[in-house]
């Protein structure tokens, strides 16, 4: 920036009364070298680990894409055969989504959310590190399949029954894929819970929700979508594993199952996933465009509202991926309506960005170039999405190259461009050095040209009738030429990404020194050194608006004077309680889907002999015991709050006993069922029964472990009344499994929905 008055802004001494609200870390610095990275729990280092890992897989997934495009360079090419090609596109999709786009977004969130809200770290640094380490190990598990006879080759969506044993006789690749995604899912949920708690609970004094930077809002809503959507994938994965290893038939129509349910569950996760990926990019661009237009974000509250609306609607649009399934006119119409609706908040964001630029003073740095290209290309991807939302149009173009073009305009033209923009913007903060602008501009123009060459022509290929996921194609008019153009574009794109990696590598040591605030930006991450110290801030500036550093630079034009926002009441929720509430939300969603599966598979089911073994009265007694244990736990809580540690421990002990009895009751019932020959694969009732009750009993067992730990702490006098919130949060979980037992009892034993399938 060349404006002297701006450059001076961060240098102004922050007022003395603005200490961070957080206690400082005990540890002063990192262990040196390699150990300092492996053992780190610093959110900034964890963030960098995420990003570097994601960059590595960007190269891996990119090479897979190049191999695919090379195979498609001409009709009937023989570079990669069908087996290799199908593995390539499966791994490309899975890698880019789970090992590139998600980790980069989570990594940026990890690094910048605490900084932008003036916190010293995330709420749970160790959980944060754990969440990261699921990524390399999950990726390792997935790639290990290569040495077991081949990578998964059924697409990143693994449609059943193709992904089932009868069609995958010798290969275990789908199992590695499955377990890897379960592991990565755990990591994502952990990261999301951490970001939710950090944002809600650790905001510095003055940082109200309506003063949060747009990027923080985006990460917050993203995290909520993660905890709501991931369990759907987990439920589907668990059911597929049950089919593959316990001989069940959830998704095998040939044995009474239903292949469409896989698609429903997968897309209940899969579509929100698109927004999980895109919202962080939205957020990054909403930071970059204002700073390089030298104006605040146009319509902040509309931006926030639109983000929330997208979060909610994203959970209601999944079956627009299934218009060709033949779900019927009613379902198609509903999902078209919800999908068209989601275009409206998305459109609002486009106007937020574009009107921020109008009337500003645009500085076309590389970060800004990527942000502008993001807006244009994302609009193209969004508009082709509108055509796809119209289900009759989707009936023609779905599963064609038109869709490939559409979602690459959203994911590459949008998300990746947005993240590149964020990279150029934030790299100086992370390293203390600017990313080279000359190489950056080369990177930008080559990416722009390569991207549009690669994917622009694919719209036409789709319209000309070329289907997706084909390893080769007949020599139809224009198919050869358009595919050639697309492949050339892909290699330009590959070269441009190489430039980016080179730029990162060179600038990390030899880039121009950045100083604290090279862009004269306004949010809190620029109010500290580059890179920030271990505990982030020496002193925080006063936070009285959305742009604390603008207020410092221009006290007379301060936002809190010109456009005041409601003041901070200082209230922050308790981290333990928010964390447990988030966990319960994600678990409840998981069970909601398992219970939905129970209802679906037992509706109009033939009578099952397995029911005759069940003893509803006995199960009722154990369930009642578990419900009572909720009340004994509340009694324990009251005693703890009152400081009566002995009776607290006694009530907790009673709770534990009732919980243990419930698990024992389930074991007893299982013993009888299995002795009578009703194994899980006996029929669909048995499959769903064991899945639902088994997972519930497992959760009760986990609750018992948690309460036992608390009992041990309590008996050693380590649970002082000051730590009451920890106990309360454990209560959330215990009440959850107890309420769940009532639902399970009503649905499974009492058959309150009259599903049929009674005893013969």
């Amino acid at each position: 920036m060349n404006d002297a008055s701006l450059a001076a802004a961060p240098a102004a001494a922050p007022p003395a009364d603005a200490e961070c609200g957080m206690p400082r870390h005990d540890a002063t610095d990192h262990a040196p070298g390699f150990l300092g990275w492996v053992a780190t729990v610093d959110h900034k280092r964890v963030g960098i680990l995420y990003i570097v890992t994601a960059l590595f897989f960007l190269v891996v997934g990119g090479c897979e894409a190049l191999a695919m495009r090379y195979q498609l360079i001409k009709p009937a090419n023989t570079f990669a055969g069908p087996e290799a090609y199908n593995q390539l596109f499966t791994m490309h999709g899975t890698t880019m989504i789970f090992m590139v786009a998600m980790p980069i977004a989570i990594g940026l969130g990890n690094y910048f959310v605490p900084l932008m809200i003036g916190a010293r770290d995330v709420a749970f640094p160790r959980l944060n590190a754990l969440g990261y380490w699921t990524l390399p190990f999950g990726a390792l598990l997935m790639h290990y399949s290569f040495v077991t006879g081949g990578a998964p080759d059924v697409g990143w969506f693994s449609y059943a029954p193709l992904s089932e044993r009868p069609f995958q006789e010798v290969r275990y690749a789908v199992d590695y894929w499955n377990l890897s995604l379960l592991l990565l899912g755990v990591g994502s949920v952990a990261a999301a819970v951490n970001l939710i708690v950090t944002t809600l609970c650790l905001r510095a004094p003055g940082m109200t929700m309506m003063r949060l930077p747009p990027f923080v809002w985006s990460m917050l809503i993203t995290s909520f979508i993660v905890i709501m959507a991931m369990p759907a994938l987990n439920a589907a994965l668990v059911m597929l594993l049950t089919d593959r290893w316990l001989d069940a038939a959830y998704f095998l129509p040939q044995r009474g199952g239903n292949a469409i349910i896989w698609q429903h569950f997968f897309w209940i996760f899969g579509h929100p996933e698109v927004y999980i990926l895109v919202l962080p990019a939205f957020g990054a661009v909403a930071e970059v465009i204002p700073v390089f237009s030298r104006k605040p974000l146009f319509g902040y509250s509309f931006f926030v509202g639109a983000t929330m609306a997208i979060g909610l609607l994203s959970l209601l649009v999944w079956a627009h991926h299934m218009f060709a399934v033949g779900l019927g006119r009613a379902a198609d119409t509903f999902f078209m309506a919800s999908t068209l609706l989601i275009a409206i908040p998305t459109g609002i964001k486009v106007f937020n960005w574009s009107f921020t630029m109008v009337g500003g003073k645009l500085v076309l740095s590389t970060a800004m170039c990527f942000a502008v290209a993001f807006v244009i290309q994302f609009v193209l991807g969004g508009l082709s999405g509108v055509t796809l939302a119209m289900f009759p149009v989707d009936w023609q173009v779905t599963d064609s190259y038109y869709v490939v073009a559409h979602f690459h305009y959203v994911i590459f033209g949008g998300i990746i461009f947005g993240l590149f923009s964020g990279a150029y913007y934030w790299f100086p903060k992370m390293t203390g050095r600017l990313l080279g602008e000359t190489l950056g501009k080369w990177h930008f123009w080559l990416t722009l040209i390569g991207f549009n060459l690669t994917f622009g022509v694919q719209h036409i290929l789709g319209i000309l009738g070329m289907p997706r996921r084909v390893y080769t194609y007949p020599d139809f008019p224009y198919w050869r030429e358009l595919n050639l153009i697309s492949t050339i574009g892909a290699f330009v794109l590959g070269a441009s990404t190489l430039l980016f990696v080179v730029n990162l590598w060179r600038s990390r040591r030899r880039g121009a020194p950045a100083g604290n605030n090279p862009w004269s930006a306004w949010t809190l991450e620029w109010a500290t050194t580059s890179p920030p110290p271990h505990d982030n801030f020496r002193k925080l500036p006063p936070i009285k608006s959305r742009r604390p550093l603008w207020d410092l630079a221009y006290p007379k034009l301060a936002d809190w004077l010109v456009a005041p926002t409601a003041d901070d009441t200082g209230a922050r929720p308790n981290p333990n309680r928010i964390a447990m509430a988030s966990l319960v939300i994600t678990e409840a969603t998981f069970f909601l889907l398992l219970l939905a599966a129970f209802v679906i598979y037992n509706t109009e089911a033939p009578p099952t002999a397995a029911r005759s073994v069940l003893d509803a009265t006995r199960a009722g007694v154990f369930t009642a015991g578990l419900v009572i244990s909720s009340f004994t736990f509340m009694a324990a809580l009251r005693q703890h709050a009152a400081g009566h540690s002995k009776s607290f421990l006694s009530w907790l002990c009673v709770t534990l006993c009732l919980g243990t009895l419930f698990v024992a009751g389930t074991a007893w019932e299982y013993y009888e069922l299995l002795s009578a020959g009703f194994v899980l694969s006996y029929d669909l009732f048995s499959t769903t029964f064991f899945t639902v009750t088994g997972f519930h009993a497992l959760h009760v067992a986990a609750g018992i472990a948690l309460l036992t730990a608390l009992w041990l702490l309590g008996s050693r006098g380590r649970l002082t009344t000051a730590r009451h919130a920890k106990l309360q949060s454990a209560g959330y979980y215990w009440h959850f499994v107890s309420v769940l037992s009532v639902v399970v009892y009503g649905l499974v034993y009492l058959d309150v929905l009259k599903l049929g399938g009674g005893a013969p």
Binding site: L6, N86, P161, L341, F355, I376, M390, W395
Partner: protein, 314 residues
């Protein structure tokens, strides 16, 4: 094949596909207008609002509620319009079949299409013939995994799902061949699961149906007879059936009763003639790797004999 068969959704040859093409065109026009609008705003800013050194900060504008509400309401109205268009298009493109019996059952197999004509009681593969001008109800089924029936120039795409039969209607308005393909990933050879819809004049169609209903041609020449014996010896009939021979019950692989009349082999991979039949049997796994038919270790003489027999099954 001479003129390339049509696989372009914007060159529709049936009202079902035309309704969709029209709606698609309309939506593309609407999208183009919106796109130009956004590019206009951004382009204006890029040209007019560049920073110049030493000019200080621009006026700080925080938003404009009127503008924001307007830009929320207009997209909403556009969505409502597109919703109505879609609704009407859907009724034209996919009329409710009711309880009507299908004229054709299109059944997806890994990796070929079977076309069963239940009313005339025969089964074809690769080619689905339809008479000009008569609405045909096609039931789409699957033998194994999920496939998708897609003939862009004629009608909507629809999944072939085991345990979940679907229906599409086609009212062909043009004579000729129309390219079709499986559009849902279905395993190794998804790429070569193509087919063609052949629209015949009513007279030609009647001739074709009559021909398809006849049992397989009886081998007459010595080489055809030898081919028939080899067909029997190498257990081809375990998977393929030929009506009028003892091998008329297998349903796993394409029915060969009239293989000599089809344009292509291997799901559209190679044209059909004596030489390609030989090549196919002698190197199935080389030509279509992963397909469910094994490569048979036959001598050239044996291949020629079988090809002569099969090629005569017109």
């Amino acid at each position: 094949m001479s003129a390339q068969p049509n696989s372009n959704m914007f060159v529709p040859a049936a009202p079902e596909a035309r309704a969709i093409a029209d709606a698609f065109t309309l939506s593309l026009i609407v999208c183009a207008v919106i796109f130009v609008f956004v590019v206009g705003i951004v382009g204006y800013a890029l040209i007019k609002n560049r920073a110049k050194p030493g000019t200080g900060e621009p006026p700080q504008v925080y938003g404009n509620h009127k503008l924001e509400v307007t830009l929320t309401v207009i997209p909403f109205l556009i969505c409502v319009a597109l919703f109505i268009v879609s609704w009407r298009t859907a009724n034209a493109a996919a009329p409710d079949p009711g309880d009507a019996e299908p004229d054709v059952i299109a059944r997806g197999h890994q990796w070929w299409w079977e076309f069963e004509y239940p009313k005339e009681n025969f089964r074809a593969a690769y080619e689905m013939h339809l008479p000009l001008g008569r609405p045909a109800l096609v039931r789409v089924e699957s033998f194994d995994v999920i496939h998708d029936f897609w003939v862009p120039a004629l009608t909507r795409k629809i999944d072939a799902i085991p345990g979940h039969p679907n229906h599409v209607t086609i009212t062909p308005e043009q004579l000729g061949r129309f390219e079709g393909t499986c559009a849902e990933f279905c395993g190794t050879q998804h790429a070569w699961m193509r087919f063609q819809v052949v629209v015949d004049s009513p007279a030609d169609y009647a001739t074709w149906v009559a021909a398809q209903r006849r049992p397989g041609a009886v081998p007459t020449t010595p080489i055809q007879l030898q081919g028939y014996e080899l067909f029997s010896k190498y257990t081809c009939g375990n998977c393929h059936s030929i009506a009028g021979t003892p091998f008329d019950s297998a349903r796993i692989a394409p029915d060969l009763t009239h293989i000599g009349s089809r344009a292509a082999l291997g799901g559209g991979l190679i044209p059909q003639n004596l030489y390609t039949i030989m090549a196919w049997m002698g190197g199935t796994q080389a030509i279509k790797p992963g397909c469910h038919m094994p490569t048979f270790p036959l001598t050239n003489a044996e291949l020629a004999a079988i090809a002569n027999y099969l090629g005569a099954l017109q």
